[in-house]
Symmetry: C2
Subunit: 281 residues, 2 copies
């Protein structure tokens, strides 16, 4: 049994353009009952928006097959019994925390999970200090959850701006609490993905366009890493220290690659529904 | 030749109370021309305020014999030719940067030294992001100077609040630039103190009440550490991993301790002025 973790941006779509053949490749996984999960580091919009984007691009998948850092955090918090939650995230993404016991804003005691996202210019001393006090107050009972560890990103004016990691580092240093990171290439995030599929990491294959975050990150967790030459891929990636388990021109070549694998023999060449249709004509 | 670095709070005074005998001990150092410098981690007020406090407590010293993180930063910046300077410090302490080429607020390029102090609730995303952009823009030419690395302190309401270190950590992580720390126990700060006295560390003796910050910090730099049993000293400090080179009941015992040292033979038992006075009566 093999399962697939599939990066979205650069693998299934590139900005607002679908990667040619992506829909067919995903259909192939469905037809052959190969478990798969879409794993993305997006934390600026809720999973439902990612799901709608895929639909808009002609790719129909169940909402539950999309794993974002927020969704992974919610699952981790539930599995580890870490409510109430104090969430330092942009308001729209709170949709992904629906159902969790959320601490009201400004309360500085009582959280057992303190979640840090990219608040951008909404960060101020009072908010960061509140996160610190919540961590300090929670002691052994508390945990610091980082929605990724991106150091900086491009602001709308094209200049660099601070992302989530510096604020997590500030809190880690002041509270002496190590963060649990949700987002590639963190092991906790990949573990959350494996748990979602109820499969061991050793049976999972990560498909991504980032030689470090996707491929190296996956391999360090005992998964295999399959590099696609779309998205942010550059030819020099092939000469890096990281050796992908396979390299595909794009996700369109995934069905062909799977058919070449020794373990693919047990897969039905044609799905049941197609056979019935074939017989009908 | 021996020189002394003397911690202030807990050694010369305790809050608003002078340590009995401190004035005489300092007079002894003056009388015997033993070089000394007062080293404090205070960065919330300018050196002149520390100097006035000493005068108020009956201890007259030259202003230039007080080394605070701000003063050390100014000297370091001058010695290393790192102007212009962007200073993220409380406005009153800017007095200690008088004469330095300071970048106007809001300018996000052109600094060669980015100085981070405890801005408290004046920190916001725009300020921290500005510091990051200045560091990113300066590249190899830039340096990050931290006025101490205190993680948290007590707020006026008695609760803990974030101090300077978490903000330095945020900037270090995002800019990949290691901070130069001005404040005990950082080696850069002790070096600045030694430079101020124009003496090698091997000839310096640090007098402090903090077994880690003062004594261990000094010993790691090749100085000797002399622990006083005043201020924050606790009996269990004696059983810590750190072995002070000597332990005094208080700074009042310093003259007696110096007289017992083999190197004190060359010191005049009585200063010139006293001899004249003795002869006059």
């Amino acid at each position: 049994m093999h399962g697939f973790l599939i990066d979205l941006d650069g693998v299934v779509y590139d900005g607002d353009r679908v990667i040619p053949g992506a829909a067919d490749a995903i259909a192939f996984l469905n037809q052959h009952h190969l478990p798969h999960l879409f794993v993305t580091n997006t934390s600026s919009v809720p999973a439902r928006v990612v799901w709608q984007k895929l639909r808009f691009l002609g790719i129909e998948v169940p909402l539950r097959s999309i794993l974002t850092p927020m969704i992974a955090a919610r699952q981790w918090i539930r599995a580890n019994g870490r409510e109430p939650v104090a969430a330092f995230v942009p308001r729209p993404t709170l949709a992904d925390f629906e159902g969790l016991n959320l601490l009201p804003p400004d309360v500085e005691v009582g959280a057992r999970a303190i979640v840090i996202g990219d608040l951008g210019d909404q960060w101020d001393y009072r908010k960061l200090n509140r996160a610190f006090r919540l961590l300090d107050n929670a002691g052994e009972q508390g945990c610091l959850i980082a929605l990724g560890m991106t150091r900086f990103c491009k602001a709308e004016d094209g200049r660099l701006r601070l992302d989530v990691a510096p604020f997590v580092k500030a809190l880690e240093h002041s509270s002496y609490i190590e963060p649990t990171v949700m987002g590639k290439p963190a092991a906790d995030f990949f573990q959350q993905a494996a748990d979602s599929l109820s499969m061991p990491m050793s049976e999972l294959i990560m498909i991504g366009d980032d030689i470090y975050s996707d491929i190296h990150g996956a391999q360090r967790c005992g998964m295999r890493g399959l590099l696609v030459k779309t998205g942010k891929f550059r030819e020099q990636d092939i000469n890096s220290d990281v050796r992908p388990d396979a390299i595909l021109r794009s996700i369109a070549d995934l069905p062909q690659w799977i058919r070449q694998q020794p373990w693919s023999e047990g897969l039905h060449e044609k799905p049941f529904v197609s056979k019935v249709l074939d017989a009908a004509f």
